[in-house]
């Protein structure tokens, strides 16, 4: 009996080792993955920070990204993400109008690239990341290191990553040009912002059909954290400002953020998987939030691996200490903002996704090895609503 069990184990182990070779996966050396990701986002609401918390928040973003991955050999992988976001918004129109139009472009373009190198050393992986991004009012350079280890026959994974962003920002103040007084952030010229993120992740197989992870995130930001072209409408007794005095928002020059995320995926059957996530977040500006993610994946009865899934998400947060409605600040406060992204609110998201993955040595529509599409509607109880859709298709060469 024991011999039989041992034989079946050996046979199964051999199949696991040889199987990928039979399916054409044993020689990852030189394999090249190319994926194209296209995303679209639109939103509208009535609380634009550019006009002091009143006025349209209309915004559209079109974001094509190319993702390349080259498996140089069994140990080394190089990846590159390159994209150009095109942003058009009512805010840009408002800034242009206030500045006389010449200082900023008619629509915003964000260009970015991230390059990663990863190398395996036994059951450990080390990675290096370099990135850059550019928009009309800032330049960003980022770099980072990550490390991961597989333990317990790959049932346990521990990972750590650190990344730093060095941003140089053109300060564009549409109200309160230049110096606003001693100790108050400038609203013209150039400013710096640094962000350091650290992430620790523990992932664990909890059974044949269950896997979970825990992610601890910490971030520290320093420098210019306010946006000079965000307005705040102050209460004013002066007859010069009958509708309130418009000034630039003021926010602290540092921010510490922490989050703890838990994920749990369970496959009730081979064709029904429940993906769940919960996150708690807090920062030293006074925001604390709870977020729940839920996706139920149904496998469609086809030869290929094809999944259809409804998406649900709920988020609730407390407001930052420095947030206030228009005409609630006097200007005597140290900090003030009417950016509703920093306010107390709840939001819902719901949508649908569809993924398709072909078997090795097979393709879909001749060239596509994998295809993903998802669309979601976003509703915030302060009146902001949005729609996002993304699709991606890729091939392996």
């Amino acid at each position: 009996m024991q011999l039989r069990a041992l034989a079946s184990r050996l046979l199964a182990g051999a199949l696991v080792s040889v199987g990928p070779a039979l399916l054409g996966q044993a020689e990852p050396e030189g394999r090249f993955d190319a994926d194209i990701l296209f995303s679209y986002y639109s939103q509208d609401g009535d609380h634009s920070p550019v006009t002091g918390g009143i006025g349209t928040e209309e915004l559209e973003v079109v974001s094509p990204v190319v993702v390349l991955a080259w498996r140089v050999d069994e140990k080394m992988t190089l990846t590159a993400d390159i994209g150009i976001d095109q942003i058009s918004s009512a805010s840009i129109g408002n800034i242009q109008m206030e500045l006389g139009g010449a200082s900023i472009p008619a629509s915003d373009t964000r260009t970015f690239g991230t390059f990663k190198a990863k190398r395996k050393f036994g059951n450990q992986t080390l990675g290096l990341t370099l990135g850059a991004a550019s928009e009309y009012d800032y330049e960003s350079f980022s770099y980072g290191l990550d490390w991961a280890i597989d333990l317990n026959q790959a049932n346990t994974g521990i990972a750590a990553a650190i990344r730093r962003y060095d941003d140089a920002i053109d300060l564009i103040g549409i109200d309160g040009y230049g110096s606003q007084g001693p100790g108050v952030p400038r609203t013209e010229g150039k400013g710096d912002r640094t962000t350091t993120d650290a992430v620790f992740t523990l992932s664990q197989t909890l059974g044949r059909r269950t896997a979970g992870s825990l992610e601890l995130f910490m971030s520290q930001q320093e420098g210019v954290l306010s946006t000079p072209y965000h307005e705040v409408i102050l209460i004013s007794d002066s007859p010069l400002y009958p509708d309130g005095k418009h000034v630039a928002e003021r926010l602290p020059d540092s921010r510490d953020r922490k989050a703890l995320g838990v994920r749990l995926n369970h496959g009730f059957t081979d064709g029904f998987v429940l993906r769940t996530g919960y996150r708690y977040y807090e920062d030293d500006w006074g925001i604390a939030s709870h977020t729940i993610d839920l996706e139920t994946h149904f496998r469609l009865p086809t030869d290929r691996e094809m999944w259809l899934y409804p998406i649900l998400r709920y988020h609730t947060q407390t407001g930052a200490d420095y947030f206030g409605l228009p005409l609630t600040f006097t200007g005597a406060e140290d900090y003030y903002s009417s950016d509703y992204d920093l306010s107390e609110f709840s939001s819902d998201k719901y949508g649908l996704g569809w993924n398709l993955f072909t078997l090795p040595n097979e393709s879909w529509l001749r060239y596509v090895d994998r295809f993903e599409v998802r669309g979601t509607f976003y509703d915030r109880d302060d009146g902001l609503s949005g729609f996002t859709t993304s699709f991606s298709f890729g091939s392996t060469f």
Binding site: R110, N155, R380
Partner: protein, 72 residues
């Protein structure tokens, strides 16, 4: 203080679980499906960035916090 204790308890609980499951490679059929992966799928990435900037909250589920947003 209470919150810190809760985080430590959660971390400890999951760390404790690490010793309780060893699924052999030939038993990983369900776990190896795309839907069981713990990472976000590729098309979720853009949505995460939108969430980060529209909600003043970040981390714990991927996403980034620096490098500008293209969101104004």
């Amino acid at each position: 203080m209470k919150r810190g204790a809760l985080i430590i308890l959660l971390l400890g609980s999951l760390a404790g679980l690490t010793g309780c499951a060893t699924v052999q490679p030939w038993e990983r059929g369900t776990l190896s499906s795309e839907s069981m992966k713990l990472d976000d799928c590729r098309t979720h990435r853009f949505e995460r960035n939108v969430e980060v900037y529209r909600e003043g909250a970040v981390g714990g589920n991927g996403g980034k916090s620096g490098g500008g947003c293209g969101c104004s």
